[in-house]
Amino acid sequence: MARFTRGFAGRRTERDPRLPPGQYDVGTGWPVLTAEPTPKLDPATWSFRMEGQVAAPTTWTWDEAHALPPSTYSGDIHCVTTWSKLGISFTGVSVDTLLAAARPLPAATHVMAFCHTGYTTNLPLADVSDGKAWVVWEVDGKPLPREHGGPARLLVPHLYFWKSAKWVAGLRLMDHDEPGFWERNGYHDRGDPWLEQRYQGDE
């Protein structure tokens, strides 16, 4: 049970219902938070791969990925460091399209997103299926900047944003769960902002 902090009233006027608990609206800014140097990736050699527990392991080049049916997410994103960005739009391809091509095996339950930098993050397969996840290369109609994961990043906007791996290189489907980079370093395995699943051990 939280105890009151002497003298603290807070600055809120009315709280935007789009903000999960413990989050604040960062406004027009978009903080950059990464643990590794920002890589310079050339779309000419970029690729995205579906592998692991799939019937048809598949690799797409930049052009091949762009030839897939485009899909756009418009909504909000939430960072575990407590900022949220409301009303942002990303365009790329739905992970459903990529899964349909690679055909997950029945044993597949989780995915490990892996990146050109070596970063990884784990997700239940259900959290990247059924219209919940994208691989995106545009933000608000412009190419995704390098510091925000360009040329392409994973987008899983219903979970804390460290799950939306920058510089994503592929998804490895697994028949079990295992922790990715931040998950090994103290952060939650699932990361639902509405449940405030920030750190290992949170509900």
Partner: protein, 234 residues
């Protein structure tokens, strides 16, 4: 790895002291030994009488020392809901809720060579590392390069003398400084980069990108660079 759940605990403010015109260090007494590693952070949560809460993360500046006290250094952001409260209201004897220590990536355990590169308030977690090296008799194992605009912006100035620290002034150098005010350059880093050292870079996103590029120029492998970027932490 599944750690023990991080619980909220009451911390008592035991000391508040200014570092610069806009930064203060808050010394907090926890309910038990902190057990933190150099580089880790805590979340501070403020709760209003109606239950409204605001939380922010702040790096620990004090080294691991087995005690139940930690120091958080907080920059006052003019529009920062939490940092303005901490600066303007919080006094010794006050209690507030904290949770931590958090983060097992941007940490230095004190036994391998480290190059610490900080921009402005990015010095805070690096200071825990510098202090750890010094207090365990390994001064020099961790070497700090800190970039600030001008002398008045430097946190912990009294401790930043010595051969293990380089201060880079970008706008205004103090009289007698051998280096003209200029942005951090590879020539500032090359002398302190030890073979096999891990680099810890902390600062704004722009600073972090510039510093990592410079470190790579001086031959540090990208795999040996750990970065912590300061987003807004109002």
């Amino acid at each position: 790895m599944t750690g023990a759940p991080l619980r909220w605990q009451q911390a008592t403010v035991v000391e508040v002291r200014p570092e610069t015109a806009t930064a203060k260090t808050f010394r907090l007494r926890l309910e038990g030994p902190s057990g933190h590693l150099a580089g880790q952070h805590y979340v501070v949560r403020l709760t209003a009488p109606d239950g409204y809460t605001a939380s922010r993360s702040y790096s620990v500046a004090s080294p691991p020392d087995g005690s139940a006290e930690i120091e958080l250094t907080v920059e006052r952001l003019p529009d920062g809901e939490v940092s303005t409260f901490l600066h303007d209201e919080l006094a010794p004897g006050d209690e507030l809720e904290v949770r931590g220590p958090i983060g097992r990536w941007f940490v230095w355990e004190g036994n391998l060579p480290a190059v610490l590169v900080g921009g402005g308030s990015g010095i805070v977690p690096l200071m825990a590392m510098l202090r750890l090296g010094r207090r365990t008799g390994n001064a020099g194992l961790a070497r700090l390069v800190v970039s600030v605009r001008r002398p008045a912006d430097l946190y912990y100035a009294a401790e930043l003398e010595g051969p293990d620290v380089t201060v880079v002034y970008t706008r205004e150098a103090p009289p007698g400084d051998g280096r003209a005010a200029a942005r951090i350059a590879a020539s500032d880093l090359a002398p302190v980069v030890a073979a096999g050292a891990t680099a810890y870079v902390c600062g704004s996103s722009g600073f972090a990108d510039a510093a990592t590029d410079l470190l790579m120029e001086t031959g540090v492998d990208a795999d040996h660079i750990r970065v912590e970027r300061f987003g807004p932490s109002g």
